[in-house]
Every structure is written in structure tokens, then in C-alpha cells.
């Protein structure tokens, strides 16, 4: 069997395991790191539910990357968003705006949105729709997801000057 040692920092914690070289990053995250928030959806790199962040700000489809390719890199998953149980402004916004129904696509939507707002803190509605165009949702019709990202963008852009005033 073709095996290879892989070590990835996932949500700040180093996870090291020897796995088959064909192990996909999403399975390393779910099975080796035990973090099942990252979902497997279409299995064909179309739906984006497996989206995680590589090295802080690059959204990637973890089903279309071998775990070995993330060796020595940092990966951020949905589990990192609510330290101490306090929801991230995006998670709160998805709750407030009904940005999910079944919730299956939500981890990917959240991680793509985190990256989107890092690159572009005040996106237009069109930029949000384009930014999320690699993520599929079969429940919401997307409108409430767009509203969620808009709410979070507002909250997050207000949070920074407020903190500076303190």
C-alpha cells in the first residue's frame, strides 16, 4: 500500500498521521482530526460543502485535494468559528436571516463567506452572489444566504471601529 506521513495544522492544532497517499483532505479532516463539521456532498468538486480555508484565507474544496498536498500547511474548518460557543457574526447572521434550512451546505457557505469578507469586507449583492457561486444550496434559493452575508458584513465592519474606540 502507498502510504505517506502527513502533518497538518488544523484549527491551530497539529494533526499528524500516516495515511494512504490517495486520502483526500476532507477525509483526513473528518477521520484523522475527528472534525465532522466539514461535509462531503457531491463527491465531484461541484457543490462546495467541503470548503475549508488553506493558510488562513484561501477557500479550497477539500474533496479535490489530497491530504498530502496540505502537509505543512494550516487548515481552518467551520469548528474554529465559534470559540467558547460564541457564534461568529456570519453564523449569527445565518441564524437571524434563515440562511439555512437543512444545513448541509452551511459549513461550506460559512467558510467561503469568511474568505469572501476577508478579501472584500463590504461586498455588493452581486459580489456576494458571484463569491458564493461555487457553493450549492438546494433549500434556501440563496436569497437568505445573501442577506446573511450582508448582515454579517455590516456587523463585522462596525465591530472594528467600535473596538478601536474602547
Amino acid at each position: 500500500m502507498n502510504e505517506i506521513p502527513v502533518s497538518i495544522k488544523i484549527n491551530g492544532k497539529q494533526v499528524t498521521a500516516t495515511v494512504e497517499s490517495r486520502t483526500l483532505l476532507v477525509h483526513f479532516i473528518r477521520e484523522q482530526a475527528g472534525l465532522t463539521g466539514t461535509h462531503v456532498g457531491c463527491d465531484s468538486s461541484s457543490c462546495g460543502v467541503c470548503t475549508v480555508l488553506l493558510d488562513g484565507d484561501k477557500p479550497v474544496k477539500s474533496c479535490t485535494m489530497f491530504a498530502a498536498m496540505a502537509h505543512g500547511h494550516e487548515v481552518t474548518t467551520v469548528e474554529s468559528l465559534a470559540p467558547g460557543g460564541v457564534l461568529h457574526p456570519l453564523q449569527q447572521a445565518f441564524w437571524d436571516q434563515h440562511g439555512l434550512q437543512c444545513g448541509y451546505c452551511t459549513p461550506g457557505m460559512l467558510m467561503t463567506s469568511v474568505a469572501l469578507l476577508k478579501h472584500n469586507p463590504n461586498p455588493t449583492e452581486h459580489e456576494i452572489r458571484e463569491g458564493l457561486s461555487g457553493n450549492l444550496c438546494r433549500c434556501t434559493g440563496y436569497n437568505n444566504i445573501v442577506k446573511s452575508v450582508q448582515q454579517a458584513a455590516g456587523v463585522m465592519s462596525q465591530a472594528i471601529p467600535a473596538a478601536a474606540d474602547d
Binding site: M1, N2, I4, E20, S21, R22, L24, D43, S44, S45, S46, G48, T51, L54, K58, P59, V60, K61, T64, M65, F66, A68, M69, H71, G72, T112, H119, E130, G131, S133, G134, N135
Partner: protein, 291 residues
Amino acid sequence: MFPASFEYLRTHSPDEAFAALQQHGSEARVLAGGQSLIPAMRYRLARPAVLVDINPIKELEFLKEENGFLRIGATTRDAALEFAPWILERYSLITAVSKVVADPIVRHMGTVVGSVCHNDPAGDWTATSLASRAVMVVRGKNGLREVPIDQFLVDSYTTAVEEGEMALELKIPIPDAHTQGSYQKIERKVGDYATCAAAVQISLNSDGTIRQAGIAITAAGPIAMRVAAAEAMLVGQKPTLELIKAAAAEAPKIASPNADQRGSAEYKKDMTRVLVGRGITEALQRLGVNA
């Protein structure tokens, strides 16, 4: 769906990668962004015994202008072009295509050079390379050689990269101030293969005549194709609506699309005409010419 088992080789320099490819020959494939190769392996359409991962090779990740060319390294991601402000200002064809390749997430891993080397019949970067007259730098046993894109693209999924060889970078001539481009793509949804697409780049002389034209269509045959007859028709002429229509009408003559769920062959053929026409019109508009 899991890929068949393979031996994974992580490489850190072009020399190391090249040595691995020379050693394993036809058994080996280069792994760059993997956004086409990994799905193909998961569907078992590709079963390489050895993958040579070039992602850790830092010196192959570059995007810079040098000696008249835009140089794009083998591990440079699509997103690097999409998010470079200086590309946005001066490269209208590349800017347009960089926003419609696959989907925004895939563009963070997918590479330009990998896409051209994959030579998918519906590739966006292959058509773009034809329209902008790009050159691929290939490393072989006898050192480096530069292969013009027309010779590089051999057939579906086949390029001039021979067994044991490796593409290192794509070189695109820097467009001057009198050059503009356009990318026109019809797709059912983001991330789907194009129903049809056209890449156009036009350069003007100071007297307003067309100095150079690059016109290519993709998802319209076994590989992306240059519409040479349309280019020849445009060069030396002052742009007019009749001229654009006549040039665009050359595209369906060489198109040989397959009917599929995206449309009939007749529909796709006619769309090559429509998209080439729109592309020429938009490129001219960007040059301040309303034909």
C-alpha cells in the same frame, strides 16, 4: 469515490521534479492544482501509478512581466491573476477569463499552466493562450524549449509535453496600449463546462486599422481552435460592422461541436459566430472604437 492507489512524490525543486518524471516516464503525472486531475482520478478516468507533486516548488509560483512577456509559473493559481490589480488594469482578456474559469473556490487551487497542459476540449486558458499568442516553456532531456501555443495544443488532453517532460511556465506577450481583449462564455451554471466560448484580442495601428487579431473558440471541437480565417480577414482593415459580421461567420466553418445536454451541434456552431462577433465588438469598444 476514491482514486486508485498511487505513489506520491513531494518535490521541492524543478530538478527534483524533472528527475522523478524522467525516472517514472509514462507511469507518472505532474500534480499541480489538481482541479482536473483529481476528479478524473476519482472517476478512475485517470490512474497514474505515480504523482509528482510540484506544489511545494516555490520558485515555480510567480506572476511577473519580463522581456516583453507576462510570465506565469507552473504552480501559479488562477486566483493570483484574478486578484492582481495590475492585471485588471492592463490585461482585459486575462481579466475577463480569470473571473469565469470554473468557480471562485476552484480558482484558488487551479493553475493556468496546468489547465493548458490538461488541454480539455472546453478549456478557457487554452483559447485565451491562442488569442494572446502565448508560448509554453517546456523542460526536456535536452534542456528548455519554447513551444508556441499552436504547436503545443496537439489533440484532446494531449500536448507537446512528451513523456518525462515538464511544462515550467506560460509566457504571454504583454499587450501594448493599443491592444484589448474580450472573453465570451456561455455556461449553464458556474462551474459547468462551457456550452461554447470565444477569446478575442485586437491590436490597432495608429491609423485605426487592425494590426493584429487573435481569435479562438473553445468547447466547439476536440480542442480549442484558432479561427485563422477570421484573423486574416480583420488584419489591415478598418473595423466596420460588416467586417465584424464577416469575420465572425468564419468561426462556425471550423467548429465541430458535439451535441449534448448543453445544446445541439447546430446551436453550438451558431453560438461560435455570435460569441466571436460579441468578442470583437467588445475588444474594439475597449479600444474606443464603436463599429
